[in-house]
Amino acid sequence: MAANAQGVAEAPFVWHPATAEEAWQLKATLGAEGVFTAGGTLLRTQWESGLAAMPNHLIDIGAIQELHGPRTDSEIGTVCFGAMTTLSEIRTSPLVNASFPLLTEAARSIAAPSIRNLATIGGNVLSIVGDSIPALLVYDPVLHWHDGSSGLEESLSEWLSTAAVHPVWKERLLLSVALTPPTLNSNTKRFVAYHKVGRRDAFTPSVVTAAFSIQLDSDNRLGDVRLALGGGQTIPHRLETVEQFLTGKPADKKTITEVYSMILEHYEPKGDAFVPVSYRKKAAANLIASELWKAAK
């Protein structure tokens, strides 16, 4: 491999593979010396804050066509978001807003337009705590990776459960995130909500990020309950116990009161010096209770 004076920290080599296979081969060859980069916005903040050193090699995945933009599978309605899809594309896409409104709202709340023009959905997901993740989780997302062989698929929930402690995924290349819109049963209404609660609207880790989707039938009973929470350094996850409890229950004061208590009991956020665990739990419980209340009215 060629070397020149730029191959040092602060002036890394930048590689531009044209295919996922080339990118993966570069990473396999460079090992820890090489880092995949898409928009580069999160990497830059990590370099500036000292959380990570600038690597000797950047593997720019921007030229890999298959990683760009959303693609729809018209037969089953699944939409595949290439990892290079920018948050701005998601924010402004009528297709996304029609099928995945929570994702549109999540994109609106992440940073500012100028950053969303560079930042990608792949980068936000791979941060493990990105604020798009609670919204994505509502739509049963599947991650597609290039791992040097036949490719790998795994659910976002499954990946999140081990990503922080088993960083083996850093050797793979994320190709896309596939989402399936929920179907609406007859005689039901769907209610969705996305909230990001923090000291500022953007640019500060949120206290709670909540995504919520339910169906309400003509008897005012809840169904297809999907509830995801995250925020700050909490790894986002679905609250399956609460979802199961709510399924089939009437949307009334008794149910909402019980759910409030359940969230306080089952949700386990990560606290920090600014916002303790107890406050995050209460904020999450209030958000979900208030959304249920709105749906029940």
């Binding site: 730029q6 590689w15 531009h16 593979p17 060859t29 830059r44 804050s49 500012a112 560079l118």
Partner: protein, 177 residues
């Protein structure tokens, strides 16, 4: 290195072609150098301001292919083949001063002025794509620009005035045509 990786070569320092304010350029800089530093230190274009350097304040805002980006977050190689517009280019396009700049002057949309080039770039990017934005759309478009002097009242008035003037200019041109 395996064959497929061997065929890829890293970007050379002198091979970043782009357009800056309408002029073709070839950037002879390290590929991961920040665009902000390329503009200010290598090209002596100091309109984009250095401030937070992590994309939070918007003082370094420029347009790349017509959309706003933070030049402190943008690396030189990301500009390859792109069209960059800085605040210097906004002035030149308008033959001295853009109506958006005039609106900031007349409505008191600045005090110290440090954030103003970035603000004007964000407003221009917004109005070029959406000539008649709602208040919410204006707030979202400016959500990445921080001003520590004005309290934003003058800035909001300036944006409204710029919208009004652009509409009037468009209507005048339509009548002439």
């Amino acid at each position: 290195m395996k064959d497929s990786a061997k065929s890829v070569t890293p970007l050379a320092a002198s091979s970043i072609p782009c357009t800056i304010n309408g002029h073709e350029a070839s950037l002879n800089v390290p590929p991961a150098k920040r665009l902000l530093h390329v503009l200010r230190d290598d090209l002596a274009m100091t309109g984009a301001k250095r401030s937070c350097e992590i994309g939070r304040c918007g003082a370094c805002m420029v347009m790349v292919d017509g959309v706003p980006v933070n030049s402190c977050l943008t690396m030189a190689y990301q500009c390859s083949g792109k069209s960059i517009t800085t605040i210097e280019g906004v002035s030149a396009q308008a033959g001295g001063i853009d109506p958006i700049q005039r609106a900031f002057l007349e409505e008191g949309g600045f005090q110290c002025g440090y954030c103003t080039p970035g603000m004007i770039i964000s407003v221009k990017a917004l109005l070029d794509h959406n000539p008649d934005p709602t208040s919410l759309e204006i707030e979202e478009a400016l959500s990445g620009n921080i001003c520590r002097c004005t309290g934003y009242g003058g800035i909001k008035r300036a944006v409204q005035k710029a919208i009004e003037w652009r509409k009037e200019a468009y209507e005048s041109e339509s009548i002439r045509d």
